[in-house]
Symmetry: C2
Subunit: 336 residues, 2 copies
């Protein structure tokens, strides 16, 4: 197994990335390799700084990095030697088995789409993120790869996520919900109405119907399908709101009952930890013929360590291969 | 002032509606009237049950009610004597000044659009909801009137909400954000990109740019514009998540520190109250030439009481008139 990590991607790169890599090595087998992409001098200095020295780690010199604010396609075209572009190229050629970046998501998605083959039967990849809910983990897909999907893209997301849920989260009974503005079939926009018609007749899927925003964390389903615009808003709203509520609760308790705060700190920290996104590592870009892990721009060392851990897990259970077989099986049934 | 209330709309109708009306009477002047729409026998029985007897309350007999699950336009066509249809008709004729319902939102929006004139310059109305954030109240518009708006509809929402924020919430400096998936102009879908071009050049608006989901509760702006699908998901997700987090916090504290719970109950109740949607009453459907207040389907008596209170406030400050003048002023500037 060869895991490639973008040392230059994310708000806290390169330091937190290198720290995460150092911690992630614990998950690698002796024969595995970890390839760090970045400028050689930066890599050397940062590895020295955090004390990362391991024969399994190789440095891949790239002279450029794509910034968070750059236009994805333009940046990829202009920066021929970017970490993101080079990693996708290596994955496309089969030189690495998994690629991980906390950098510009749009550029990482575009590079993966351009330079790595799709899984046969998948027309557009989607980012599937695992979120902690009050009823166990759930998957939301897509959270930003494709802001203007077609109905059959949403259907493909549902099929891939059903495999993902079973294989990675160990969910035996997937319950797939389509994000809309009411349970009724008549509600929603054109995309949702047409996607619903495709998903509900698919015999391989356990479709629970349309779900509303309030259902996502209420256990109504464990796989939630939506377009990348809606999914991205859901994801970021959830992060911001959860953080805000926890801060508010802590502050108000501190004001009203200052004596309790010290004793309650570990309780609140524990609740927060259970619902912390960083614990789940990065999100896979599903539909691409390689393990592609997209990390949050704010990723710290734990998120990177977890991304390395899940990339190895994905490879071990052959997530991509199982999705491919599932898609081709369905293709044959369709043709029959 | 004549306020019309749908006694049959909402999950807890008619009882909670009638209770809310009874409490709402405190906000009415002696010469004001409150018209209750519903079947005469139901109204009589419910008013007797809650002890509502006031010379300002009149009963308007309607034989039908539109159910929550019914298709809005079809239901309006078939049920000629529905509470919602009759209220909109009365508002269109100027027989009442404000209409309030916690019933089928789609039907209430459609009836208002069909039977009441739009404010000149507004092509489609939007539902503007006031949400409690950690930095004071903010407005989200649209939360479900129009799931497939055009860019100029979003521009109209921004203009109307700027008036609403100032007049009703007393916000002197409105900061308008356009909900997207990144701050950068290049991010978002086609709707957002085109709407941005209209909003950012409008000299009457203080546009802070694109905002992400996490900005909505973080004080980045106080007016957030989006399409009705996205806004509805945001609103319901927020409700569900906030409720879930508060429950979790309460439960975990109870488990970890049972002695504290009783003492903390009022603190948590107080935080919850500050962020409780019911405290803000219903949401106005902006762009219609009448005060139209849409209440949550789960409205209890407090929500109805607050809806009556805000409908009177809207009328007092002449919200509709000020929006109309603002729109016509802008129209002249455009033409000049």
């Amino acid at each position: 197994m060869r895991v490639a990590v973008d040392a230059m991607g994310g708000d806290h790169a390169p330091r937190e990335i290198i720290r995460g890599v150092k911690e992630g090595l614990a998950h690698l087998a002796p024969a595995d390799q970890l390839l760090l992409y970045g400028p050689q001098d930066v890599l050397a200095a940062e590895c020295a700084a955090v004390g990362l020295s391991d024969p399994r780690v190789q440095h891949v010199h790239c002279t450029q990095a794509i910034e968070m604010c750059e236009s994805p396609v333009e940046a990829l075209r202009q920066k021929k030697d970017s970490t993101i572009g080079r990693m996708a190229q290596a994955a496309g050629k089969g030189e690495v088995d998994a690629i991980i970046s906390a950098g510009n998501t749009g550029a990482f998605v575009a590079a993966s789409q351009l330079r790595i083959k799709p899984i046969p039967g998948i027309s557009r990849p989607g980012i599937a993120v695992v979120v902690p809910t009050f009823h166990g983990p759930a998957i939301i897909c897509d959270v930003g790869a494709n802001v203007a999907p077609k109905p059959h893209h949403l259907h493909e997301y549902a099929r891939m996520c059903a495999v993902f849920a079973k294989l990675i989260l160990g969910i035996e009974e997937t319950r797939i919900g389509l994000v809309s503005i009411g349970e009724e079939e008549s509600k929603g926009n054109v995309l949702v109405k047409e996607a619903r018609n495709l998903i509900k007749v698919d015999p391989t899927l356990n479709f629970v119907g349309n779900v509303e925003g309030r259902d996502i964390f209420a256990g109504t389903g464990n796989v939630f399908i939506c377009d990348g615009f809606v999914g991205n808003v859901i994801l970021k709203l959830t992060e911001g709101l959860a953080e805000g509520i926890f801060k508010t609760v802590r502050r108000e308790i501190a004001e009203a009952a200052p004596d309790f705060v010290r004793q309650l700190e570990p309780v609140i920290a524990n609740i927060w930890k259970k619902h912390d996104f960083a614990e789940y590592g990065g999100a896979p870009l599903l539909g691409i013929n390689s393990v592609v892990i997209i990390c949050h721009g704010r990723s710290d060392h734990r998120a990177i360590m977890n991304a390395i851990r899940v990339s190895i897990e994905f490879r071990k259970v052959d997530l991509i291969g199982v999705i491919a077989r599932q898609m081709s099986k369905h293709g044959r049934e369709d043709a029959a």
